[in-house]
């Protein structure tokens, strides 16, 4: 009987995963030519807020209420989210060509908000992918030959003026275990530049309060610990992992209507490595950046980092039959709103 009840949802879940499955032959990841102006460091700074959004997406909808029961349960959770982008993530310190600032090689200038800056060295403020207009640095080489001739003017990518960013939606399998444990699994493959990128996550939620004699203190509240691991891999080019850990608790407001709150630590690390598409030395020979001019055939390596380390969240959950509607708001480096539905298909 149990097996019979499980077959239908299992098939449905399989169909969902297969819908997202694409397999391709392997090859290196490539950036199109417009990204030829990026150095690895500038690409990391430019994309960091976007990578933060992705990291926050991965580490969202990890749990709802902490009152996990001593039953088996199989369900499917679908969640969406959106993030507010703070102005502090609109700019980054872009690295300048190595010899900018050396006036025997080049005299440089930039006009920013009506103010003229000369011969800056090291770095200059430029927009991230979520920011606004960039400011070019004009450079007058001081000699017509030697190293000076490479130190020409530099342009930077502009941002897209994004203040709200939808996160990556989450589709996850939810399995409850009678030890008051909940496991969540995510698996997705997507075709990225001709090769499949695989994402999977294993997320653990374990209720704690029943191990201690504290129900007379907690009353109808529950406390749980959560741990999560995410992996995002593409054979060549993408190698990213993310961890999260935290505590969450919940309590009942009305029958089937509950609140939950959490404190979570999260991190992401890894790299995205990509070659310049149809690399031709003549395209980059004039770049003032040594990394591009001398090593343009080498891959661009973007360090994957997030501005977010901690989040504090509060949310509400409402159960209607086997469906649980949940939504929460979290304070993180990009404040985040999430909403989802968990269908608990099988409970026994």
């Amino acid at each position: 009987m149990i097996m019979k009840r499980m077959i239908t949802p299992a098939i449905c879940i399989l169909i969902l995963f297969l819908c997202e499955l694409n397999l391709y032959a392997g090859k290196n990841l490539e950036f199109s030519k417009e990204f030829a102006l990026f150095t690895s460091k500038n690409a990391s700074g430019y994309f960091k807020p976007l990578l933060t959004s992705i990291e926050q997406s991965l580490n969202s909808n990890r749990f709802t209420c902490a009152d996990y029961e001593e039953t088996w349960r199989i369900g499917l959770d679908i969640s969406v989210m959106g993030m507010l982008i703070p102005s502090s993530q609109n700019n980054y310190d872009a690295e300048l060509p190595q010899l900018y600032g050396d006036t025997s090689v080049a005299q440089t200038g930039e006009l920013r908000d009506g103010v003229y800056y000369r011969n800056k060295k090291g770095s200059t403020l430029q927009p991230t992918i979520y920011g606004g207009a960039s400011t070019p640095v004009f450079s007058a080489p001081q000699k017509q030959n030697g190293v000076s001739e490479f130190y020409k003017s530099s342009g930077f990518a502009e941002g897209n003026n994004i203040t709200f960013m939808p996160g990556l939606p989450v589709l996850q399998l939810v399995v409850g275990i009678p030890t008051r444990t909940e496991l969540r699994f995510r698996f997705l493959t997507l075709g990225v530049a001709g090769e499949s990128m695989t994402y999977y996550a294993i997320l653990l939620n374990q209720r704690l309060d029943h191990w201690f004699d504290i129900q007379n203190i907690l009353h109808n509240h529950a406390i749980a610990v959560n741990l999560g691991f995410h992996s995002l891999q593409r054979d060549a080019g993408i190698d990213v992992t993310s961890f999260s850990a935290g505590l969450h608790g919940s309590g009942e407001i009305l029958e089937n209507f509950k609140y939950y709150a959490a404190l979570q630590y999260e991190t992401i690390s890894g790299s995205i490595t990509a070659y310049r598409e149809n690399y031709d030395a003549s395209d980059v020979i004039n770049s003032p950046y040594e990394e591009i001019r001398l090593h343009g055939d080498q891959p661009l390596k973007i360090s994957v980092e997030s501005f977010t380390k901690f989040r504090v969240l509060g949310g509400l959950s409402y159960k209607l039959g086997f469906a649980e509607f949940h939504g929460d708001i979290a304070y993180a480096s990009q404040p985040i709103f999430t909403f989802g539905i968990c269908f608990n298909f099988v409970t026994f």
């Binding site: 969902l16 417009e34 005299q107 440089t108 200038g109 070019p136 004009f138 342009g155 990518a157 939808p166």
Partner: protein
């Protein structure tokens, strides 16, 4: 509730992939267009004593443009900069009353840089920068999308009484173009 169970499942199985694809599409749409700033350097070279220097240009000469031209949705002139590379005779204290750069396309002239009372020392291999007014930038941008061939013109106005016979004026004009590129 139980009798609707199967229908719920089917509904979820059908809606979820569509819903998820839609969310991805929204996210990707937000990021599918980039604006790049590409500085294009136009060398201006004049022999002989004249107050006007011309240069014939074609955007297709510049790899920064040709690399992206098929995906360029909009070109927008943002800032322009210029400096003197060489001038003969050289006198660092010489002051020019006015220095103007014009962008000429389809026989229409657009003023894209103007500087008043500049001494040679202040722009000899030192970039001077001009913020192109929005209305001019828009007109130049619209014209550039129609025609990749253009001319630039440098007009120098000397201070009254300056009768120096300049045998060479070599300068660089850099136009910072914002290119909206659809990925």
């Amino acid at each position: 509730m139980k009798k609707y169970y199967k229908y719920y499942l089917i509904l979820v199985a059908v809606i979820a992939p569509v819903f998820i694809s839609g969310c991805y599409t929204d996210t990707i749409d937000n990021l599918s267009e980039f604006t790049l700033q590409v500085p294009i350097t136009v060398p201006m070279f004049q022999r002989g004593n004249s107050d006007t220097t011309f240069s014939n240009e074609n955007l297709n000469k510049y790899a920064e443009y040709t690399n992206n031209k098929e995906r360029v949705k909009r070109l927008h002139l943002y800032q322009s900069s210029f400096w003197l590379d060489s001038i003969a005779p050289f006198n660092s204290s010489e002051v020019f009353q006015k220095i103007e750069y014009y962008f000429i396309i389809d026989s229409v002239q657009y003023l894209i840089a103007r500087f008043n009372n500049l001494s040679v020392s202040s722009f000899f291999k030192i970039p001077q920068i001009y913020q192109v007014p929005d209305d001019i930038a828009e007109q130049v941008s619209a014209a550039l999308l129609q025609n990749e061939v253009f001319r630039t013109m440098l007009v120098t106005t000397r201070t009254p009484g300056n009768n120096t016979n300049y045998s060479l004026i070599q300068s660089s004009l850099v136009m910072s173009l914002r290119m909206d590129v659809k990925l």
